[in-house]
Amino acid sequence: MRADHPAGAVAAAGPAPVRGQRAPTVAGDRPHGRTRGRTIAGRRRLTGIMMTAPALVALAATALFPLLWTVSLSLQSFSVAVGGPEPGFVGLANYGRVLANPAFWTALGQTLAYVVVTLVVELAVGLAVALALAKETAGRKALRVVVALPLMIAPVVAAMAWKFLFSPGYGLVNEGLARLGIEGPAWLADPWLARATILVTNAWIALPFVILVLLAGLANIPGELNEAARVDGAGHWRRLWHITLPLLRPAILIILVIRLADAFRVFDAVYVITGGGPGDATEVLSTFLYRQMFTSADFAGGAATSVLFVVVIALTAGAVFAVLRQREDRR
């Protein structure tokens, strides 16, 4: 019974309560004791500013210029010719041009679909593997090294390796299937199979991140919580649902937000494995942008695409973030 309420279980288990952690928010935003609260809150704010300022200045110094340059370029006409026409302010014309291009919408739709599917797959597989590896046994120690293996290979080489493995004729995937008596398909000649190939490749590259962040998250969960719940008679699934998952939420949030931005920007694997093909079946925003900037040398249009790109990612990430953090704060 009590296992339904993790906090209760914690209280019973003794130290390391989880609830107190939002104290700084409370102290910072809504000081209770007026005068004393204000000075403490003020000092805490000052500490916060001092601690974050160096990183913010460093980021501003390195990232601000390229970002502003891109935003500014997206509002201008831009000729790449020596002695070409002067750049001039064109308002949102570059954006209009990008939005009027059907290829942009194809790429956007496929990117969004890819992001959703890949995040679900990565989280589900990553969670299963991380839970399996969380406990300390000799075999699992070795397996933990194994799941980190994809990190060892440069992403471009990993993409080329998978392309090779999936190719008909000399690829090992179809050779393996043939040994099992199954005739393997021509993976990259079919739109859906080509999409699946991209998904598998990228999941393979990204899973170590997902698994290791979840493992680190699991490491932060005090062991006695599960123990107490177990004593109270909660089964595996119940403990997973009511204790582990809620406590993993920060780790999951980190994964979602970072992998979201990365998945949106997926490029290497698509560029290497399908080049956006067959047809335009695997065209994504990054390949569209790459073609626009470096095949067509349309830098102003490329800048507009980049800004739209960031807006889409930021809105999506913001939404995910708002939903998850809110629920967490309500908890």
Binding site: A81, P191, G277, P278, D280, F294
Partner: protein
């Protein structure tokens, strides 16, 4: 060389904004800069950008010592991966183009770089004697709007490599000269039981597929632009090309399943699994080397089959002088040395590849370093180039290639009919032509 005005404007705005936000101290000072460290020639050192890992880079890196000995000009050769050369050169040109004195230029970029003023016109520098020594038509591959912007060191096109033993076993005594014979020969040499196929039809979405498709269209007597140079891909010839490709791939099954790229085509041919493939001249050296090829003593070259024209689109690689270079004379000295008769003769013999100078081809033909088979292959390469025409010289060509490869790949993955694919490609090419 100042920061070019084009780049300066958005730069100035962004700089001003960062200055406001950061305090002027942190913001980069927008001085008109003459500070390029890598490219300032001073007449003694020139910087040459070449394709990393290419046989050309390897050859010129070795040969550059001779050049320095002859002229006193030092050469720094910088390798750039092919996929990124265009991007790298473009970025540098936008910033004033001082990083490289000499650029190795793939033909599709010549007109774009020339139109944008990144390359120096070379007409006044090339002597009439040299001009007439270049094989007819090869200088056109480096020209835009009537002016010469580079000298080619390689002009080549696709030729057909085949395994004589496989054709003989199928009762065929000569390589096919028409599409009909090609289709028939491919059918007869296919045996899925042993995993051998007659040929491989390209279909992966990449630039290579576009050049192959363009070659097929020209074999059918057409082209991808009309007489006025406007995009013209929705034609009977283009349809015939796609029909030939789909018949061999799907109706006959004489090409293995999959959307093939060059890497696969060449790999499977060298593995001995394919009877006939279209590949570039460079494959000859590999195909006859037992270390790299299982068919080293069972390979020959022929012109491509035609419908009826036995041609293939020619492409060149050349060297041009960067308009932003401050050592243009030294840069030109290097370009003319690198494409001289002596150097090209050496390159042709070492790499068994065709070269665009008549005098060098003659010298190669007489060299006793070559075997009879080598000589025959080189004759086919030259003949194939001589009877073919090149790509349309337009800055929009890269975009044309992109449109063609998307069309072919959507037909070969059966997502679109030839009619749909060609109509889409035509629209995309028109847009690129206008933009």
């Amino acid at each position: 060389m100042t920061m070019t005005r084009r780049a300066a404007r958005p730069l100035a705005l962004a700089t001003a904004l960062s200055a406001v936000l950061l305090g002027a101290a942190c913001a980069p000072s927008p001085t008109s800069s003459d500070d390029s460290s890598a490219g300032s020639g001073k007449g003694t050192t020139i910087t040459v950008g070449m394709e990393a890992g290419s046989p050309h880079e390897a050859f010129y890196k070795k040969a550059a010592a001779d050049f320095t000995e002859e002229t006193g000009i030092k050469v720094q050769i910088l390798g750039v991966p092919h996929d990124n050369m265009h991007q790298q050169f473009l970025s540098d040109a936008i910033a004033g183009g001082t990083a490289y004195d000499v650029l190795m230029v793939d033909q599709p970029w010549v007109s774009e770089f020339a139109a944008n003023g990144y390359l120096e016109p070379l007409d006044d520098r090339l002597s009439d004697e040299d001009r007439s020594d270049f094989v007819a038509g090869t200088l056109d591959t480096e020209s835009y709007d009537g002016k010469l912007y580079g000298l080619p060191f390689l002009v080549h096109n696709l030729v057909t490599y085949y395994r004589p033993s496989m054709l003989e076993a199928a009762g065929i005594d000569a390589p096919p000269t028409t599409w009909e014979q090609y289709r028939e020969a491919a059918r007869l040499t296919t045996d899925p039981g042993t995993g051998t196929y007659g040929t491989m039809i390209p279909g992966n979405r990449d630039g290579e597929v576009a050049t192959r498709f363009e070659s097929y269209v020209q074999q059918a007597g057409g082209d991808i632009v009309d007489a006025q140079g406007k995009p013209d891909i929705d034609t009977p010839q283009a349809r015939a090309a796609l029909q030939m490709m789909t018949e061999i791939q799907f109706d006959d099954g004489s090409s293995p399943a999959g959307l093939h790229d060059l890497s696969a085509i060449q790999g499977q041919f060298l593995e001995g699994k394919i009877a006939m493939v279209s590949v570039w001249p460079y494959l000859w050296a590999m195909a006859t080397d037992p270390e790299q090829s299982k068919i080293a003593d069972d390979v020959a070259v022929a012109l491509n089959p035609g419908n009826p024209d036995q041609v293939a689109t020619t492409f060149s690689w050349g060297l041009g002088v960067s308009a932003g270079s401050d050592a243009k004379d030294a840069a030109w000295t290097f370009v003319s040395w690198a494409t001289s008769t002596d150097v090209l003769t050496r390159k042709g013999i070492e790499q068994l590849s065709p070269v665009p100078r008549t005098s060098a081809m003659d010298a190669i033909a007489q060299s006793d370093e070559l075997s009879e088979a080598d000589r025959k292959a080189l004759a086919v390469f030259s003949d194939s180039v001589a009877r073919s025409t090149t790509m349309p010289m337009t800055p929009a060509y890269s975009a044309y290639q992109s449109a063609m490869s998307e069309a072919v790949s959507s037909v070969m993955s059966r997502q679109a009919t030839p009619d749909q694919a060609l109509a889409t490609a035509q629209k995309q090419m028109e847009q690129a032509d206008e933009g």
